[in-house]
Protein backbone atom coordinates (compact mmCIF):
# COMPACT_ATOMS: atom_id res chain seq x y z
CA UNK A 1 0.00 0.00 0.00
CA UNK A 2 2.73 2.38 0.92
CA UNK A 3 4.61 1.46 -2.26
CA UNK A 4 1.51 2.19 -4.34
CA UNK A 5 1.13 5.52 -2.62
CA UNK A 6 4.76 6.29 -3.35
CA UNK A 7 4.28 5.36 -7.02
CA UNK A 8 1.24 7.58 -7.19
CA UNK A 9 3.09 10.34 -5.47
CA UNK A 10 6.01 9.97 -7.88
CA UNK A 11 3.66 10.04 -10.82
CA UNK A 12 2.04 13.23 -9.61
CA UNK A 13 5.50 14.70 -9.05
CA UNK A 14 6.54 13.88 -12.60
CA UNK A 15 3.38 15.45 -13.95
CA UNK A 16 4.04 18.60 -12.00
CA UNK A 17 7.68 18.68 -13.11
CA UNK A 18 6.62 18.24 -16.72
CA UNK A 19 3.98 20.93 -16.36
CA UNK A 20 6.49 23.32 -14.84
CA UNK A 21 9.04 22.55 -17.57
CA UNK A 22 6.43 23.31 -20.23
CA UNK A 23 5.49 26.50 -18.42
CA UNK A 24 9.13 27.57 -18.33
CA UNK A 25 9.53 26.72 -22.02
CA UNK A 26 6.44 28.72 -22.90
CA UNK A 27 7.72 31.67 -20.90
CA UNK A 28 11.10 31.45 -22.55
CA UNK A 29 9.61 31.17 -26.01
CA UNK A 30 7.31 34.12 -25.34
CA UNK A 31 10.27 36.22 -24.24
CA UNK A 32 12.34 35.07 -27.21
CA UNK A 33 9.62 36.06 -29.65
CA UNK A 34 9.10 39.45 -28.00
CA UNK A 35 12.82 40.16 -28.20
CA UNK A 36 12.91 38.96 -31.80
CA UNK A 37 10.32 41.61 -32.66
CA UNK A 38 12.66 44.25 -31.23
CA UNK A 39 15.64 42.72 -33.02
CA UNK A 40 13.96 42.55 -36.41
CA UNK A 41 12.97 46.21 -36.23
CA UNK A 42 16.56 47.17 -35.40
CA UNK A 43 15.92 48.24 -31.83
CA UNK A 44 18.39 45.79 -30.35
CA UNK A 45 21.44 43.99 -31.68
CA UNK A 46 22.00 40.24 -31.87
CA UNK A 47 24.47 40.39 -28.97
CA UNK A 48 22.07 42.38 -26.79
CA UNK A 49 19.27 39.98 -27.72
CA UNK A 50 21.37 37.00 -26.60
CA UNK A 51 22.37 38.71 -23.38
CA UNK A 52 18.76 39.54 -22.50
CA UNK A 53 17.88 35.87 -22.90
CA UNK A 54 20.86 34.72 -20.89
CA UNK A 55 22.24 32.88 -23.92
CA UNK A 56 25.48 33.01 -25.83
CA UNK A 57 25.33 34.51 -29.31
CA UNK A 58 26.04 31.08 -30.80
CA UNK A 59 23.07 29.48 -29.03
CA UNK A 60 20.78 32.28 -30.13
CA UNK A 61 22.06 31.93 -33.70
CA UNK A 62 21.19 28.23 -33.51
CA UNK A 63 17.72 28.97 -32.16
CA UNK A 64 16.97 31.47 -34.94
CA UNK A 65 18.36 29.15 -37.57
CA UNK A 66 16.26 26.29 -36.19
CA UNK A 67 13.21 28.51 -36.51
CA UNK A 68 14.06 29.40 -40.10
CA UNK A 69 14.71 33.01 -39.15
CA UNK A 70 17.49 35.22 -40.50
CA UNK A 71 20.26 36.24 -38.10
CA UNK A 72 20.68 39.53 -39.91
CA UNK A 73 18.06 42.21 -39.38
CA UNK A 74 18.92 44.32 -42.40
CA UNK A 75 16.56 44.05 -45.34
CA UNK A 76 12.90 43.80 -46.12
CA UNK A 77 10.24 43.21 -43.47
CA UNK A 78 9.70 39.47 -43.09
CA UNK A 79 5.96 39.94 -43.60
CA UNK A 80 6.75 41.09 -47.15
CA UNK A 81 8.93 38.20 -48.17
CA UNK A 82 9.80 34.58 -47.66
CA UNK A 83 10.25 34.78 -43.90
CA UNK A 84 6.63 35.43 -43.01
CA UNK A 85 5.41 31.86 -42.69
CA UNK A 86 8.49 30.73 -40.80
CA UNK A 87 8.16 33.68 -38.49
CA UNK A 88 4.56 33.00 -37.61
CA UNK A 89 4.49 29.22 -37.59
CA UNK A 90 7.81 28.08 -36.28
CA UNK A 91 8.40 27.63 -32.61
CA UNK A 92 11.82 28.86 -31.74
CA UNK A 93 13.88 26.36 -29.88
CA UNK A 94 17.23 26.24 -28.20
CA UNK A 95 19.57 23.34 -28.72
CA UNK A 96 19.62 20.98 -25.71
Amino acid sequence: MRAAERRNATGVGEDIAQFLAELINLGFEYRLQRLYRRFETGGISLGYFANELGLGVRDLYAALEHGGLPTSNVGADPSVGRCSSAHQDTRLQIRD
Partner: protein
Protein backbone atom coordinates in the same frame (compact mmCIF):
# COMPACT_ATOMS: atom_id res chain seq x y z
CA UNK B 1 46.01 43.64 -47.65
CA UNK B 2 42.45 44.49 -46.75
CA UNK B 3 41.95 44.39 -42.97
CA UNK B 4 38.45 44.20 -41.51
CA UNK B 5 36.93 43.77 -38.06
CA UNK B 6 34.30 41.02 -37.79
CA UNK B 7 31.60 40.81 -35.15
CA UNK B 8 30.15 37.52 -33.92
CA UNK B 9 27.06 36.96 -36.07
CA UNK B 10 28.66 36.62 -39.44
CA UNK B 11 31.88 35.09 -38.08
CA UNK B 12 29.60 32.16 -37.25
CA UNK B 13 28.14 32.32 -40.77
CA UNK B 14 31.51 32.20 -42.53
CA UNK B 15 32.72 29.35 -40.31
CA UNK B 16 29.52 27.38 -40.82
CA UNK B 17 28.60 27.55 -44.49
CA UNK B 18 30.49 25.83 -47.29
CA UNK B 19 30.69 26.88 -50.89
CA UNK B 20 32.34 24.83 -53.61
CA UNK B 21 33.71 22.37 -51.10
CA UNK B 22 35.33 25.03 -48.97
CA UNK B 23 34.17 26.90 -45.89
CA UNK B 24 33.27 30.49 -46.66
CA UNK B 25 35.82 31.66 -44.10
CA UNK B 26 38.54 30.06 -46.18
CA UNK B 27 37.50 31.87 -49.36
CA UNK B 28 37.80 35.50 -48.23
CA UNK B 29 40.71 34.89 -45.94
CA UNK B 30 43.09 34.63 -48.85
CA UNK B 31 42.25 38.21 -49.74
CA UNK B 32 41.84 39.90 -46.38
CA UNK B 33 42.95 39.96 -42.79
CA UNK B 34 40.14 39.32 -40.31
CA UNK B 35 40.46 40.83 -36.86
CA UNK B 36 38.14 40.08 -33.95
CA UNK B 37 37.96 41.23 -30.34
CA UNK B 38 38.54 38.85 -27.41
CA UNK B 39 34.81 39.13 -26.65
CA UNK B 40 33.88 37.87 -30.09
CA UNK B 41 36.41 35.06 -29.74
CA UNK B 42 34.74 34.13 -26.45
CA UNK B 43 31.25 34.20 -27.97
CA UNK B 44 32.08 32.17 -31.08
CA UNK B 45 35.10 29.97 -30.36
CA UNK B 46 34.82 29.40 -26.60
CA UNK B 47 31.11 29.46 -25.72
CA UNK B 48 30.40 28.16 -29.21
CA UNK B 49 32.96 25.36 -29.00
CA UNK B 50 30.14 22.80 -28.92
CA UNK B 51 29.30 23.68 -32.50
CA UNK B 52 31.46 22.66 -35.48
CA UNK B 53 31.78 26.28 -36.61
CA UNK B 54 33.04 27.24 -33.15
CA UNK B 55 35.78 24.66 -33.55
CA UNK B 56 36.57 26.02 -37.03
CA UNK B 57 36.82 29.55 -35.64
CA UNK B 58 39.09 28.34 -32.84
CA UNK B 59 41.34 26.56 -35.34
CA UNK B 60 41.64 29.61 -37.59
CA UNK B 61 42.49 31.73 -34.55
CA UNK B 62 45.11 29.21 -33.40
CA UNK B 63 46.60 29.21 -36.89
CA UNK B 64 46.81 33.00 -36.78
CA UNK B 65 44.56 33.30 -39.78
CA UNK B 66 42.02 35.21 -37.68
CA UNK B 67 43.71 37.69 -35.39
CA UNK B 68 42.40 38.53 -31.93
CA UNK B 69 43.02 42.09 -30.82
CA UNK B 70 41.51 44.05 -27.93
CA UNK B 71 40.38 47.62 -28.43
CA UNK B 72 43.12 49.80 -26.94
CA UNK B 73 40.62 51.97 -25.03
CA UNK B 74 36.94 52.62 -24.64
CA UNK B 75 36.95 55.92 -26.46
CA UNK B 76 33.28 55.89 -27.31
CA UNK B 77 31.86 54.42 -24.10
CA UNK B 78 29.51 57.36 -23.58
CA UNK B 79 28.45 57.43 -27.22
CA UNK B 80 27.59 53.73 -27.12
CA UNK B 81 26.18 53.54 -23.60
CA UNK B 82 22.50 53.83 -24.41
CA UNK B 83 22.40 51.73 -27.54
CA UNK B 84 21.03 48.23 -27.04
CA UNK B 85 24.26 46.66 -28.31
CA UNK B 86 26.04 43.64 -26.87
CA UNK B 87 29.54 43.94 -25.46
CA UNK B 88 31.00 42.15 -28.49
CA UNK B 89 29.48 44.65 -30.87
CA UNK B 90 30.58 47.65 -28.78
CA UNK B 91 34.14 46.29 -28.59
CA UNK B 92 34.19 45.62 -32.33
CA UNK B 93 33.14 49.21 -33.04
CA UNK B 94 35.81 50.53 -30.66
CA UNK B 95 38.47 48.32 -32.25
CA UNK B 96 37.50 49.38 -35.75
CA UNK B 97 37.80 53.02 -34.73
CA UNK B 98 41.20 52.63 -33.10
CA UNK B 99 43.15 49.89 -34.87
CA UNK B 100 45.44 51.09 -37.61
CA UNK B 101 44.92 50.02 -41.20
CA UNK B 102 41.43 48.67 -40.55
CA UNK B 103 39.28 49.34 -43.59
CA UNK B 104 35.83 48.55 -42.21
CA UNK B 105 33.64 46.94 -39.60
CA UNK B 106 31.85 43.96 -41.09
CA UNK B 107 28.52 43.43 -39.38
CA UNK B 108 25.16 42.07 -40.39
CA UNK B 109 23.45 43.79 -37.50
CA UNK B 110 21.34 46.86 -38.26
CA UNK B 111 22.00 48.67 -34.99
CA UNK B 112 25.75 48.02 -35.06
CA UNK B 113 25.85 49.11 -38.71
CA UNK B 114 24.02 52.38 -38.02
CA UNK B 115 26.00 53.12 -34.87
CA UNK B 116 29.35 52.52 -36.58
CA UNK B 117 28.32 54.68 -39.50
CA UNK B 118 27.25 57.49 -37.15
CA UNK B 119 30.70 57.34 -35.55
CA UNK B 120 32.27 57.90 -38.95
CA UNK B 121 33.38 54.32 -39.53
CA UNK B 122 33.01 52.39 -42.73
CA UNK B 123 30.55 49.55 -42.15
CA UNK B 124 29.96 46.66 -44.51
CA UNK B 125 27.68 43.67 -44.41
CA UNK B 126 29.28 40.32 -45.20
CA UNK B 127 27.92 40.36 -48.78
CA UNK B 128 29.60 43.76 -49.22
CA UNK B 129 32.92 42.20 -48.20
CA UNK B 130 32.38 39.45 -50.76
CA UNK B 131 31.83 42.12 -53.41
CA UNK B 132 34.83 44.12 -52.30
CA UNK B 133 37.07 41.06 -52.53
CA UNK B 134 35.68 40.32 -55.98
CA UNK B 135 36.39 43.87 -57.11
CA UNK B 136 39.93 43.51 -55.83
CA UNK B 137 40.37 40.27 -57.75
CA UNK B 138 40.68 38.10 -54.63
CA UNK B 139 37.49 36.19 -55.42
CA UNK B 140 36.20 35.10 -58.81
CA UNK B 141 32.71 36.04 -59.93
CA UNK B 142 31.67 32.39 -59.74
CA UNK B 143 32.94 31.90 -56.20
CA UNK B 144 31.38 35.18 -55.07
CA UNK B 145 28.03 34.19 -56.54
CA UNK B 146 28.21 30.76 -54.90
CA UNK B 147 29.03 32.31 -51.52
CA UNK B 148 26.15 34.78 -51.78
CA UNK B 149 23.75 31.95 -52.58
CA UNK B 150 24.90 29.72 -49.77
CA UNK B 151 24.61 32.44 -47.12
CA UNK B 152 21.25 33.64 -48.43
CA UNK B 153 19.14 31.91 -45.69
CA UNK B 154 20.81 34.04 -43.02
CA UNK B 155 19.57 37.29 -44.60
CA UNK B 156 16.30 39.08 -45.00
CA UNK B 157 14.82 39.86 -48.37
CA UNK B 158 16.72 42.33 -50.53
CA UNK B 159 20.26 41.97 -49.22
CA UNK B 160 21.48 39.09 -51.40
CA UNK B 161 19.40 40.27 -54.35
CA UNK B 162 21.12 43.67 -54.14
CA UNK B 163 24.54 42.03 -53.97
CA UNK B 164 23.86 39.81 -56.98
CA UNK B 165 22.93 42.86 -59.07
CA UNK B 166 26.14 44.56 -57.94
CA UNK B 167 28.08 41.43 -58.80
CA UNK B 168 26.75 41.57 -62.35
CA UNK B 169 27.94 45.19 -62.52
CA UNK B 170 31.38 44.09 -61.36
CA UNK B 171 31.38 41.41 -64.04
CA UNK B 172 30.31 43.82 -66.79
CA UNK B 173 32.89 46.36 -65.72
CA UNK B 174 35.63 43.75 -65.72
CA UNK B 175 34.53 42.59 -69.15
CA UNK B 176 34.49 46.11 -70.54
CA UNK B 177 37.92 46.84 -69.04
CA UNK B 178 39.21 43.71 -70.69
CA UNK B 179 37.65 44.70 -74.04
CA UNK B 180 39.05 48.26 -73.80
CA UNK B 181 42.52 46.88 -73.29
CA UNK B 182 42.08 44.34 -76.02
CA UNK B 183 42.52 41.67 -73.45
CA UNK B 184 40.56 38.52 -73.31
CA UNK B 185 38.33 38.42 -70.27
CA UNK B 186 38.54 35.16 -68.47
CA UNK B 187 35.15 34.34 -67.05
CA UNK B 188 36.88 32.97 -63.98
CA UNK B 189 37.33 36.33 -62.32
CA UNK B 190 37.07 40.07 -62.13
CA UNK B 191 40.75 40.71 -62.20
CA UNK B 192 40.43 44.42 -62.77
CA UNK B 193 39.64 46.65 -59.88
CA UNK B 194 36.15 48.04 -60.03
CA UNK B 195 35.09 51.31 -58.49
CA UNK B 196 31.61 51.75 -59.91
CA UNK B 197 28.37 52.39 -58.04
Amino acid sequence: MLTVVFDAGHLITVCKFESQGKLVVDHPLSGCCIVITPGVEEEVAVLGAGYPDGVVAGERIAQGVIQVMPAPARRWARHLADYALGDGEKDSIELCGQAEEVEALVTDDYLAFVTATRLGLKAWMLPDLVLELTERGSLTIEVAEAILEVIRPRYRVGVIEHSLVRLQEVKKDAESCGADRGEEFASGGASQRYRGG
